[in-house]
């Protein structure tokens, strides 16, 4: 327990906090704007990492994988928000997608007992199309109850998507533990005052700081940012003064997914990418959001730093209760100030 121990642990904690900031800030903004507890946020992180792996596999460029993976996942988040969480105007597309999805499962399960269906594309498509049309007719006859006003149903819907994403990732990329290899420049170490600092962790911190500054500028200086802040404070009032809150939620959901996926690419280099990572990151992201306060960027930064440091020092100093030391403060904060330390009332 000398100075070096404290320096190294603090550095590791801060760099882990930098990663958590990427995941947590998006979750926090989504909660602030839409009051949605998004349990598929961990899946965005995982998919970001996996898509980056594919991009690296096909192009060989790690630099290219960062924006591509993040944009792809942002698109997924956008579709999820627009088609399922808030589907006015797109009910037909949503019903059609769900009908198609179930129809594929139906033909797959029929195929288990009558293998000729999965033997060729012809019969498979025919059975699927038939089932899809039947299901679509059924689904569009069911009168729907909007889910906007019910946090529990929104949460469970995002859980359902988390499971779908999990299985999808398993089917596409397999169940092996994979690593993202960043360029050689970033994998070296620097020696400062006799202590080794991995360059990659410095890069993580720099990246988080840069993104934090950009986010802050967007939120404080642009019209869209002002609209977002207004929606966080009072969505009804914001609608009243003519802010298109639907556009704001779409923007924020896509942004949140973008940031989580970016975290997945960056974090994948030292955490690895493996099935189950999504549900490992999710509670940590929630800790960030709750400690920092929902819907506040500065709060997310402080929360991420706190969780990163608490996680590292907890594991090093009291390994047996390390997660407890992480979540217990979270409970206390929630009990005393439900909106988090820096949340807006």
């Amino acid at each position: 327990m000398n100075t070096q121990f404290w320096i190294v642990q603090a550095f590791n904690g801060i760099s882990y906090g930098a990663l958590l900031f990427l995941v947590g800030s998006g979750l926090s903004l989504i909660f602030g704007v839409m009051r949605i507890v998004n349990l598929s946020h961990g899946a965005y992180f995982l998919w970001g990492g996996y898509i980056a792996l594919s991009v690296i596999h096909f192009t060989g460029s790690w630099t290219l994988s960062l924006p591509l993976a993040a944009l792809a996942v942002a698109l997924i988040g956008l579709l999820m928000e627009r088609l399922f969480l808030r589907s006015e105007g797109f009910e037909y597309v949503r019903n059609a997608l769900i009908a198609l999805g179930i129809a594929v499962l139906v033909s797959l399960s029929i195929g288990r007992w009558h293998p000729f269906i999965v033997a060729g594309w012809g019969p498979f498509i025919a059975v699927t199309a038939l089932a899809a049309v039947a299901l679509y007719t059924l689904l569009s006859r069911i009168s729907l109850v909007p889910i906007e006003s019910d946090p529990l149903r929104q949460v469970l819907l995002t859980v359902g998507f988390a499971f779908l994403f999990q299985q999808g990732a398993l089917d596409i990329w397999g169940g092996n533990n994979m690593d993202i290899n960043p360029p050689a420049v970033l994998t070296q170490s620097m020696v400062i005052g006799g202590v080794y600092f991995p360059v990659y962790r410095m890069f993580m911190i720099a990246m988080a700081v840069a993104i934090g500054i950009v986010l802050w500028l967007v939120m404080e200086k642009t019209r869209m940012g002002a609209a977002v802040r207004a929606t966080v404070d009072d969505a009804q009032m914001a609608r009243g003064v003519g802010i298109d809150t639907n556009r704001v939620s779409m923007f924020i959901f896509a942004l949140g997914a973008f940031l989580a996926a970016l975290g997945g690419v960056i974090g994948g280099a030292f955490l690895g990418i493996y099935p189950g990572l999504d549900f490992e990151m999710l509670p940590l992201a929630f800790a960030v959001v709750i400690i920092g306060g929902m819907g506040s960027l500065g709060g997310a930064a402080i929360g991420a730093l706190a969780v990163g440091l608490a996680d590292n020092f907890g594991k090093a100093l009291f390994p047996e209760v390390s997660y407890f030391t992480l979540y217990a403060p979270m409970v206390l904060i929630l009990a005393i100030k439900p909106t988090g330390l820096f949340g807006r009332e």
Binding site: R35, V37, L39, F84, R94, I98, G101, I102, L105, L108, S109, R112, L139, I142, S143, L144, V145, P146, I147, S149, D150, P151, L152, R153, V155, L156, L157, V159, G160, F161, A162, F163, L164, Q166, Q167, L170, D171, F279, L282, P283, F286, A287, I290, P319, E320, V321, S322, Y323, F324, L326, Y327, A328, M330, V331, L332, L334, A335, P338, T339
Partner: protein
């Protein structure tokens, strides 16, 4: 409307049929039904909170996990719970569930709506963190293995005997919860669910009502955990993980919140998907995710709500009020 008596009769007949059919099926079905029934007790405890009190707890796995870990620690460290003292472990499991809920309730009950969701999530994660990391007590990631089942006149290592025992616990739990929700106390819980402010104005101490309901639910969660530990013979952090809590919530919503029977049906379906479908096809998780999405979007009142929706459709064909009425459900 089918009268309440007929409904009770139907439940009774179905339970009797289950007790008769399951033991005569394969051993896999017996095991599956035993596990599903242990879990159904947890689902019904969630229903007491969600369906009857309007509190959506995302941390119910905590009580379940505490009950399960208590059993495993008692059996492996203190050699208690393999004979007549099985009943002692059951009582202790219920008590520890109640005690934990009494502690957690102090933090959680104050919060409402989505904040209640978050705080119960955090509380559940606290218990998970301890289970995962407290190696000397919980065995960490590996969990605790228990060998054998209790023997006290009854030989519980016989799967069918054990099924009957869990079945009895399940039926008694359902009966107790039914009596509870039909009691004046249960009625005032429903009042709190519908409009808490009005109950406060009428002079009810709504905090205390919710707190007591929370503790009772914790006790049933603990009981479910004890039975779960004996059923599986293995307890690991997987028992306390976030998805266990969420699964229990889905079971309630799928079956129909505020019906108790719905929670049991939901448990049977989700368990069937998780345990049975996963032995048949590799893509079972699509089906599970699909059930989540379909339930939430198309079955807001659950399976038990289907008759009501049909009736509503028949009485007010093409009337928009029909769908609006359905909105006034607990949130």
């Amino acid at each position: 409307m089918v009268s309440q008596r007929v409904k009770i009769l139907i439940v009774f007949v179905v339970l009797a049929a289950l007790a008769f059919i399951v033991p005569n099926s394969g051993s896999f079905v017996v095991l599956l039904a035993t596990r599903a029934m242990a879990f159904a007790i947890l689902a019904m405890s969630v229903d007491l909170l969600l369906g009857y009190t309007g509190m959506s707890s995302m941390g119910q796995a905590a009580y379940f996990g505490v009950g399960a870990y208590l059993t495993a620690v008692m059996v492996t460290k203190f050699h208690i719970g393999m004979g007549w003292d099985f009943w002692l472990v059951v009582v202790l499991g219920i008590l520890i569930g109640c005690a934990l809920a009494a502690l957690f309730g102090l933090f959680a009950i104050r919060a409402g709506g989505v904040y209640f969701l978050m705080i119960t999530l955090a509380l559940g994660q606290c218990v998970w963190g301890l289970a995962y990391r407290w190696n000397s007590l919980t065995g960490g990631d590996n969990g605790i293995n228990m060998t054998g089942r209790p023997q006290f006149g009854l030989d519980l290592s016989n799967e069918v005997t054990f099924f009957y025992l869990v079945f009895a616990f399940f039926a008694v739990s359902m009966l107790l919860l039914y009596v509870l929700v039909r009691s004046p106390f249960g009625r005032s819980l429903a009042g709190i669910r519908e409009r808490e402010l009005r109950m406060q104005i009428l002079g009810y101490n709504t905090w205390l009502h919710k707190y007591i309901a929370f503790i009772i639910a914790g006790g049933f969660g603990g009981l479910a955990g004890v039975l779960w530990a004996y059923t599986n013979g293995h307890v690991s952090p997987e028992t306390v993980v976030l998805t266990t809590s969420v699964d229990a919530l889905l079971m309630v919503v799928l079956g129909g919140a505020g019906t108790l029977v719905g929670a049991a049906i939901g448990a049977a379906i989700v368990f069937g998907l998780r345990e049975f479908l996963s032995t048949l096809v590799p893509w079972w998780q699509y089906a599970l995710g699909g059930v989540y999405v379909l339930t939430i979007l198309y079955l807001p009142m659950g399976l038990m709500g289907i008759p009501a929706r049909f009736r509503q459709r028949l009485t007010s064909q093409g009337n928009d009020q029909a769908s609006k009425k359905l909105v006034s459900k607990p949130s």
